[in-house]
Symmetry: C2
Subunit: 347 residues, 2 copies
Amino acid sequence: MAAVTLKDVAERAGVSVKTVSNVVRNAPRVSEATRKRVLEAVHELGYRPNPSARRLRTGHSGLIGLAVPDLATPYFAELAQHVRAEAAHLGLTVLIEETMGDATEELRLATGVGASLLDGVILSPLGVSPDELAAVANEFPLVLLGERSYERDQVGADHVLIDNVAAARDATAHLAGLGRTWIAAIGVDQQASATSRQRLEGFQLALHEAGVTYDPRLAPAIKEFDRRNGLLAMRALAALPARVRPDAVFCFSDLLAVGAQRALFEAGLTIPDDVAVASIDGSDEALYSTPSLTSVVPDKTAIASLAVKCLAARIRSAEPLPFEVHTAPHWLHARESTNGGRQQLFG
Amino acid sequence: MAAVTLKDVAERAGVSVKTVSNVVRNAPRVSEATRKRVLEAVHELGYRPNPSARRLRTGHSGLIGLAVPDLATPYFAELAQHVRAEAAHLGLTVLIEETMGDATEELRLATGVGASLLDGVILSPLGVSPDELAAVANEFPLVLLGERSYERDQVGADHVLIDNVAAARDATAHLAGLGRTWIAAIGVDQQASATSRQRLEGFQLALHEAGVTYDPRLAPAIKEFDRRNGLLAMRALAALPARVRPDAVFCFSDLLAVGAQRALFEAGLTIPDDVAVASIDGSDEALYSTPSLTSVVPDKTAIASLAVKCLAARIRSAEPLPFEVHTAPHWLHARESTNGGRQQLFG
DNA sequence: TATCGCGGTTACAACGTTGGAACCAATCGA
DNA sequence: TCGATTGGTTCCAACGTTGTAACCGCGATA
């Protein structure tokens, strides 16, 4: 509690408060002699700058926020690690928040906590509308993660994303390439989120290109992108009459796929012989599941790096910058859930 | 950026800054008439208190930190959610930090960021020594999660934990109860962390009670509690000469068990017929894996609730409180990885 | 009528920090 | 030798908020 302040250090070093401030901020115009003396005092007393005071005075704190829907989703947890690493590289500290996809909470994080505590926020939006976010982005540094919710000419904020349509298309094409003709999709969202719509689009595109007809019965609507919904959806699909029962399924997230795998296991069906499974996310959980899950893995390092750099630039810049859209690469990792066999993991 | 301050609201409402402050803080001694007028102005202007200024003035901000080793570990991600929920209940906001088990980082979070930005910190320590933490706990509200690293009479901070020895003993006893006699343990830590030592103790205790001899070859040392180390350790165990190859394995965490399951799958061994698997954590990943994993699940709700309440009490109290140790309950969930069969999940 | 008490409000200072201007040598150019 | 320049340092004010004390009416009390 005995917080050490600049004043204490100043007295100890026999200089003014401002000089100490200059030293700790690495400002120029400080002689080597005094710098050394001050640093000694800093070290002896264990001085640490008070972020609140600093923020109050300067308007920025070196803290940025990362707001994701759900930390228990491996994809977001892994992404958070990459963002932290990239931010540390730039001398920024990341505070992580969880929105649970709640629109109010997402807005609060961008405006409320954010505007007066954090220098900027990286937000992975789920529930909040584009208009509301655009309004915020104009007055507070904000970078949106994941898919774009708008058309290109309506962009009202910085975006870092992967090409969702292409990613879904790649995964589906891979399934079709195995000769499967009854391909289901799990992840059509009841709320018709942008992610869901784009992945469905890629799914349909790939079907079309493979000459496979799209059957809406094989694309049931779900509530959330979690294991439970994947399990329930796959269970229903597996119970379809034999003539329409799918021989492959594309899940819009790894968690959905894990749930689907579980449903297939319970139903006594074999992966991939009876049903091949592919998904999107590239989480470690998918890699280690049995069988290991074919998944489209977004370049999380690139996403994190682009997002943090973009945010840092916006924070630094005084005048408003034009909004940017960055697209990160993704790759299909074909594994046992489509290829069959047993491979040795080394990762 | 156009931050609305108390001053703006005061002008709008035609009262002093202090009166507005009194209203927003729900202080007494404000007439209904002015209160109403002020709240109107607050609403019209969209005023939001500035946490930095508030923290600077009062010494507390309503923000608490949660520092865990690794967010990509399902157990910690799930715990974070519980902590957030409990804190929200008390009107506190949680900022999540990740230490990667780095001792320096753990200390920095407790003293550096913490002491001047947050009101208190809930820390799940991994690398930092008891002595260093005790020093911090005396001058800053700190609650330690997970296992106790000290003997009872040396406690230098508040603790919320489960009985690790009992938890490990329950899991191992369950394996022994299946008639298994070559029971391996995965999770003996090269750094001999407290968690690891206590779980090994429970493991040995259960073996002793079951009349099974403890063979150090069946308790290999590992580096981290992740999937990869579980995989590598199990692979080595499976390669042991037939006479000592284990017929059951107790993993010190769900991630280790997932890795172990993968290794068994690769080796063509069946769970639980050839090798039964049990672990500790009770994460959703364990529930959904194939076969579903028998795990000791700690009461995360209780852990989070106790930790947040304990921290809140310490923050509120001016004079130093005696340090407390709270133990949360845990239960064994026996599932397919020890029972065999195929059950229908509904969660 | 003078005093007290009290609900309601305001003025002032302070939290720890930093930007800006002022200040004080010492050195330089003319 | 004097004024100007430069490096190094200090003083002052301000960021938005709240604790303390003071203030102002008003009705109740003596």
